[in-house]
Structure formats: structure tokens, C-alpha cells
Symmetry: C2
Subunit: 176 residues, 2 copies
DNA sequence: TGTATCTAAATGACTGTTCAGTTATTTTTA
DNA sequence: TAAAAATAACTGAACAGTCATTTAGATACA
């Protein structure tokens, strides 16, 4: 909290004028960085008229870009690291971010299956296969990247992910 | 440390007769649970004569089974959560586990490409695409599973992963 | 314009707790 | 009865959260 205060140019006491606890600081961070974004993307996604494939790529690229470039990439790491200390934060993240993110991607996958673009893969698994490499990228950047002699190509990973995933999901019987 | 001691049926002081620090306890845990396993699997893998595809499935299933059933699944979580407190532990894990695991899978992927089983995907990315869903499974089990109303089907996730991954990697020009 | 007064915001020293690591003492084993 | 193993009370550091005091900004008035 002293560190956070210092970065904000105030002292620790000041933070407690605006937040009830450290946990509330984290929750606000989650709310402001991700909660709103998911809600906004969800709206756009349901309105989108093109192929599920296009939409999926768009969403994955959006998340990938965010994780590659934003400071907020630390959030997943914070959640995992602090899960033991702040169970309520974990619950909050699970339902405000994870659940909604899963719902968003699930609907895209389901639509893709309906439209015959994707094979019949259980959406609850397919969703996690979409997300896993992105989470991996976030954790790599925030945890292991410091040891890389030359920076690992995260953008390349996202590209490879999309490439492999789309081929893996594609319904071979239909034209793409 | 008191908790660990209690689980071991001794008191904290006793632990310090056998380990220099908490960090050393973690390092021993990593060494004994994973280090050896990777070395052993690596030997078998280089000796293996069948298709890269078969071998890759075998390794992924082995890791997947381990993560689904073993208590040791907590390790990735511990590493991520304690990375800030124990930088040396992180370094150790990075080079003893991550680097060797990557090398193992890389060689399988590279062989698969040479043999024309897989498309020419950069092995450093392909490797991470193999691992990411497994890491995801581990983190799900140790972090989010507690909120699932009915247990999420991790075995199904691993199956779906293998299914999608192999299709995604497969070289369409060759017979499978 | 300059000064007094009031109030909201910010401070920083302080508290209590947690916890890794230590060590003098006790217990067990040979 | 001596040596080895284990204990449990203790220490010091880290750190979230508190609160009496100080600072800054606004308003009123000469």
C-alpha cells in the first residue's frame, strides 16, 4: 500500500480516505480495467453480423493486443498471487470477468457451430482453448519474460494460436 | 512454515534442521516432483520410434493426467504466487522446469515437422500452444474450481485440446 | 489587496498481527 | 549417560489499517 501510494503521489493514509481496504483497491482495478471492456465487447459481438470465425479472430486479437501492450496485463497474475489472501477478490474476478468472458466466447463458438463453420466441439472446452494461450502470454510477460535473453515474440504466439486454433476448430466438410 | 510442519507431524524448528529456508523447501519440492519426471520423460521421448503425433499425444496426456490427479498440481500456482517473494525460486523453476519442458516438446514438434506430420509452425510457439491449456487446467483446478457448482470436466478439456491441437498442427497435404 | 477563520484533505507516526527464521532447553535414542 | 533430534518460546521485519495532527484551499471581512 505504501508503494501504491507513492506511485500515486500521496501517502498511504490518503488511499484509505477513498478505499475501505486493499481488497477494494484491487476490486476497483478489476472493475475499471476489465469489467467494462468485457461488457462493451459483448455488445458489439452480439450485434456483429459476419462469420463467427471473423468475430472470434477479432476478439482474440483484441485480448491479445491488450495483454501484449497494456500495463493491466498484471491483473491475472495479481489475482492468482493474491487469491489466498483475498478470497472475495477471487470470487469477484471469477464472476465478473471469467464467467462473463466465458459467456461471450461461448456464444461465438456456439454460433460458429450452428452456422457450420466449426466442428461440434463442446463450447465450454473450446472457450478455454481460445483463452489458455492468451493467459499463458499474460503470465509469460509478467513472470518469465524477465529471464529471456532476447524478448520472446508474444505477437507471434498470438498469430500462431489463431492459425492453429482455427484449423483445429474448422469443419472440414464445409467450405471456409 | 508452521502449517507445513503440522502436516508433516513436526514443529517448524525441525524443518529448519533439514532445510535452510522456505525457499529451499519449495526448490526441493520442484526438484522432486517435476525435475526428475521431465528428465525421465525426455529420455523415453528421444528413444521413441513412432510418429511425432503419437508421442506428442502421449506426453500431453501424461502431463494432463498428472495435473488432473496429483496434489503437485499446486506447484505452478505456488511459483506464480510466490514469484515476487522468492526470485531465486522463480529462476530455478524457469530453467529447471520450463526450459527443459520447452526443449522436450520442441524436439517432438521439430521432428513432426521434419517427418511431414505437422505444418511448418515455429516450434517455440507450437510448444506453448501445447502447454497453455494444461497450465490453464492446473490453474483452474487450484484456483477457480472451488466455485464450480458441478465440477468442470478437466479430462474433457485435455481431450478437446488434443483433438483441436492435432488438427491445427496437421499437415493437410500428407496422409495422417 | 491583505488578513482571519473555517473546513476538508492529507499526512506520518503508531498499532497489532503475521510470519520466517533462531536458539536455549527438553526429549529421544543408542 | 552422551549425542542427536526435536521442541517451543522468542526475535525482528514487513505490512495493512488507524488516528491525532498538520496543511491547503475556500470564504468572509477589513
Amino acid at each position: 500500500m505504501d508503494d501504491i501510494a507513492q506511485r500515486a503521489g500521496v501517502t498511504k493514509g490518503t488511499i484509505y480516505l477513498y478505499f475501505d481496504s486493499k481488497e477494494e483497491v484491487f476490486k476497483s482495478l478489476v472493475r475499471e480495467s476489465i469489467g467494462e471492456t468485457i461488457a462493451r465487447v459483448s455488445e458489439n459481438a452480439t450485434a456483429f453480423q459476419g462469420s463467427a470465425r471473423e468475430l472470434l479472430v477479432f476478439v482474440i486479437r483484441a485480448i491479445g493486443g491488450f495483454l501484449r501492450t497494456s500495463d493491466r496485463v498484471v491483473l491475472p497474475k495479481i489475482i492468482l498471487a493474491e487469491a489466498g489472501n483475498f478470497p472475495e477478490l477471487l470470487r469477484f474476478y471469477r464472476f465478473e470477468v471469467v464467467e462473463k468472458g466465458i459467456a461471450l466466447l461461448s456464444s461465438i463458438i456456439a454460433r460458429g457451430i450452428e452456422q457450420g463453420e466449426f466442428r461440434r466441439i463442446a463450447p465450454e472446452h473450446a472457450v478455454r482453448l481460445c483463452i489458455a494461450p492468451l493467459l499463458f502470454a499474460a503470465l509469460w510477460r509478467t513472470t518469465f519474460a524477465q529471464f529471456d535473453p532476447e524478448p520472446y515474440d508474444l505477437a507471434g504466439l498470438v498469430d500462431a494460436h489463431i492459425d492453429v486454433l482455427l484449423r483445429g476448430l474448422a469443419d472440414g466438410n464445409r467450405p471456409t
